[in-house]
């Protein structure tokens, strides 16, 4: 085995024997996610009240009016009719004031009737449009599509029966309504409100990723104090290799943490009656933001490790700074609850960058590009910490 592999394996072996480390990395966040998802269930993402929606009709046709009427009778939705233009509606959706909007464009009745007469859509078919707020989860999206689609199908079918006299058993596939659904991603998307599980999973994941400081510093300080590092130097292992071989194993550990905590959000939280976490659209984006968070966490952990003289000092210092990062960074108290001044202060916490990155993906359905600013900041933070740690390390090791 080359020395490199031996050093990597050693880190994992030490972590495997570090019960406190494992507890803090894997059990703590899972427990926090479960507790917080339950505790915030009614505050965040309240599902029991009617879903607020807009309806904007630019068509005065018969069919359009009928649709409007039937929609208002739908259970679980509260429609507000508006005459505003699409731009205004998009703004309201992106501010999450309404979950979706149904747009009936001008000429829709006519287009639908042409379709009924000819058995096929005319040259320029006019479709119903449903705009969805970014926070709308896929189940709701499906529900809206099914409800609206169902009403339109039934309506047109009834009309066909009465007006044209066709029997109900003719193939009605062609009256399948044409509906376009579209998410709104606006400039206000940062102010979206996460559900309990959307808040808890990223929050405690980021928090626990930073807690690699406990196992890293404990292992490092013991090997420095007891002379294992000296022994490695005596057999010609460079200080650089000693330090960098601590990064890779913990990077992997952080990724495992991410997978496990997402699984907790998807499978365990619903078991206890909470919302299910919807898996992110962009797995690549997840990988980028979790890599950034991991590099920041490990760099910071190593900085604390080389700085502290005893394990007690390291775990105290590391633990306290993590709690401060968390309190500031929207981990303990969701950022949207904070007053604007505190939200501005939150930006100084690297945990808030990680948190925002994960929210970009889970809440705002962003792509990998959306997390680049946060991931970049985290990598920079981690890189600077690592460089400092390395400088202190090479000086103190002799």
């Amino acid at each position: 085995m080359p020395p490199l592999a031996a050093l990597l394996k050693k880190e994992l072996l030490l972590l495997g024997k570090d019960r406190h480390g494992l507890l803090v990395l894997f059990v703590m966040p899972a427990v926090f996610i479960l507790i917080m998802s339950m505790a915030m269930q009614d505050t965040l993402g309240d599902q029991r009240t009617a879903v607020q929606a807009l309806i904007a009709s630019h068509d005065q046709g018969e069919l359009a009016n009928a649709l409007h009427e039937r929609l208002s009778e739908l259970d679980g939705f509260a429609f507000t009719a508006v005459e505003r233009d699409v731009a205004e509606i998009r703004k309201q959706l992106s501010r999450d004031e309404y979950k979706f909007a149904i747009l009936i464009p001008e000429g829709w009745t006519e287009s639908a009737e042409t379709r009924l007469r000819n058995g096929a859509p005319g040259q320029e078919e006019v479709s119903l449009e449903i705009l969805l707020a970014p926070s709308v989860q896929p189940q709701l999206k499906e529900l809206v599509a099914a409800s609206v689609g169902g009403i339109v199908s039934r309506m047109t079918a009834e009309r066909m029966v009465s007006a044209i006299g066709a029997s109900m058993d003719t193939d009605i596939a062609f009256i399948k309504p044409s509906i376009r659904q579209q998410y709104i991603y606006g400039e206000h998307s940062a102010s979206l409100i996460p559900t309990a599980v959307q808040q808890s999973v990223p929050a405690w994941l980021v928090f626990s990723m930073f807690f690699v400081v406990i196992p890293i510093s404990t292992a490092y300080i013991i090997e420095r104090q007891q002379g294992s590092l000296m022994r490695l130097r005596v057999i010609n292992i460079s200080p650089h290799l000693m330090l960098t071989t601590k990064v890779v194993p913990y990077y992997l550990v952080n990724q495992v943490q991410m997978v496990l905590m997402i699984l907790v959000g998807i499978y365990v939280v619903p078991l206890l009656g909470g919302d299910r976490l919807e898996m992110a659209d962009s797995v690549f984006g997840l990988l980028i933001i979790s890599s950034g968070t991991s590099i920041a966490a490990i760099g910071f952990a190593l900085l604390i490790s080389v700085f502290a003289r005893t394990t007690v000092q390291a775990t105290t210092l590391g633990g306290i700074s993590n709690i401060i990062f968390a309190a500031l960074g929207g981990i303990m108290v969701p950022k949207f609850i904070m007053p604007p001044a505190m939200q501005a202060v939150a930006v100084i916490s690297p945990m808030s960058w990680g948190m925002e990155g994960f929210l970009d993906i889970f809440l705002r359905h962003g792509s990998w590009k959306d997390v680049l600013p946060e991931a970049g900041g985290l990598v920079l933070f981690g890189g600077v910490s690592l460089a400092l740690a390395s400088a202190i390390f090479t000086r103190t090791i002799r």
């Binding site: 080359p2 020395p3 024997k17």
Partner: protein, 300 residues
Amino acid sequence: MIELNDIEKAYGGQPVLRGISLTIPEGAVFGLLGPNGAGKTTLLSILFGLIPMDSGTLSVKKLDLRRELRRIRAFMGLVPQSLAFYPTLSARENLDFFASALGLSRSERRRRIAFCVETAGLETWLDRRSGLYSGGLKRRLNLAIGLLGNPRILCLDEPTIGIDPQSRSFILETIQWLNREGVTVIYTSHYMEEVQQICTDVAIIDEGRILVNDSLDSLLHNSSNRLEIGLSRPLPELLASTLALTAGDRRIRLAEATAEEISTLLKQLTEARIGVEYIDYGNRNLESLFLELTHRTLRD
């Protein structure tokens, strides 16, 4: 074959080594004897390139330390004063890790680990968490790890500190056996009996200076006029002051005494009705040598 020439080292302006010159012959068991804080560990750290020396030169097998450190380290082994291994890992895991870090192939590794386990007598404890070992066992594991690289020069920094007599003699015997197998040994200690028992050559270091450096034989068997008399009761004040000794002592120690002085002394003791329990004359041990050289005992 290890040559140290006028080595100096200071920590923050405080001199710790003040011009150390030594020659350590090949095949020796070289004892570096000195009280706490004398600079023994500092000297070994310099020898392994762990800390830089301020001035002086050091060569091992004609290789200059400053230029050929990596090559020198390749045939040297260190058993540090601290228990330098991972207490949460078992002896086997520790040995396996350090052997792998040495870059040994799988078969070599297995062979070396088997050798070290046997040499240090670790067989029955291999898979227990090493942090739970007894003091003696920990010292033996510390020794075993130092042997993994098959060193031709083995440096042991107080390898018997804080352990029971059985473990101590096991370690001392192991060191002697390794020496017979051709390993040059450098051994630091502040236990003179140990050094006297196993070393062929000795240097006494105190406050960063070498006080003597010679073979054990010539140090101990040089003609000596040292005197020690054991007393039946503590020395009374009156007699103590005439003899310029400390009242209350149960023995009289003189670095040098002539035959005449001895008979006068015995007469004075008889007059003061102090019985003589033993007389030790002309013999030397390292402790008395140290006392002669520094006028204080090794243990203070």
